[in-house]
């Protein structure tokens, strides 16, 4: 299982801050495609992605226990 975290506008759109799903062996691109169709998260493409609290590229392959976070454009400060 992989935990997927949503924040800010994505959290509102998904209706949840966290989902757990089978994503072992998927790339981030594939995970994103699945999430877009399941949750209709069209703004997912604008988000950066972090795996285990580090920014990651789309070709990263997921493993059991990974924590994926979708980071919409940030607005701290």
């Amino acid at each position: 299982m992989v935990d997927v975290l949503f924040f800010a506008e994505l959290q509102d759109a998904a209706g949840s801050n966290k989902v757990s799903l089978e994503a072992n062996g998927l790339t981030l691109t594939e995970l994103k495609k699945n999430l877009v169709s399941t949750y209709e998260l069209n703004s997912l493409d604008k988000a950066m992605i972090a795996v285990n609290e580090e920014y990651a590229q789309n070709d990263v392959v997921l493993q059991t226990g990974d924590v994926v976070a979708f980071i919409p454009p940030v607005s701290g400060g």
Partner: protein, 157 residues
């Protein structure tokens, strides 16, 4: 408390941030304090709500501290950012940098706030009289196409 980079849902003690960077070999302490603005382009903000991915945000703040240390070798940096409900004029972020000489302290604290706005996972939600909105991408010419913002984008942003 020895933490130098943290996210908190409580008011930030500015003096505490400054005290953490004051030291004998520093001749300058520069602080940046980000506060909640009431009017943006004529529109009245009632209050803001900040959300953070706390463990990663603290890690990214630490990374900014390391980047500053690489650019300004003798700099000592503290960054605190608040989350939750913030009213007008509440303090959202405090940056304190000490360096031997003033120019580096000014430059490094500017670097820190720009970098925060670029890559630290913190978001603010505007609450207006007629609605709400999560704000994103305040640096409008920044591209997220590569997924990861880099320092060059930050400087050009």
């Amino acid at each position: 408390m020895n933490k130098k980079f943290w996210i908190t849902d409580k008011p930030i003690n500015i003096d505490e941030c400054i005290e953490k960077v004051v030291r004998p070999d520093a001749g300058a302490v520069n602080t940046f304090i980000g506060t909640v603005r009431e009017f943006t382009k004529g529109k009245r903000t009632l209050y803001l709500e900040y959300q953070a991915y706390v463990p990663m945000a603290e890690k990214m703040l630490r990374q900014i501290g390391e980047e500053i240390r690489e650019k300004w070798t003798d700099a000592d940096t503290v960054i605190a950012h608040r989350t939750g409900h913030l009213d007008i004029s509440d303090v959202a972020v405090v940056i304190a940098v000490s360096t031997p000489h003033r120019n580096d302290a000014f430059e490094a604290s500017r670097y820190a706030i720009e970098r925060i706005k670029e890559m630290v996972p913190i978001w603010k939600k505007e609450h207006w009289e007629d609605g709400t909105k999560w704000i994103g991408n305040q640096k409008e010419n920044t591209s997220y196409h590569e997924g990861i913002p880099n320092e060059e984008e930050m400087r050009n942003g």
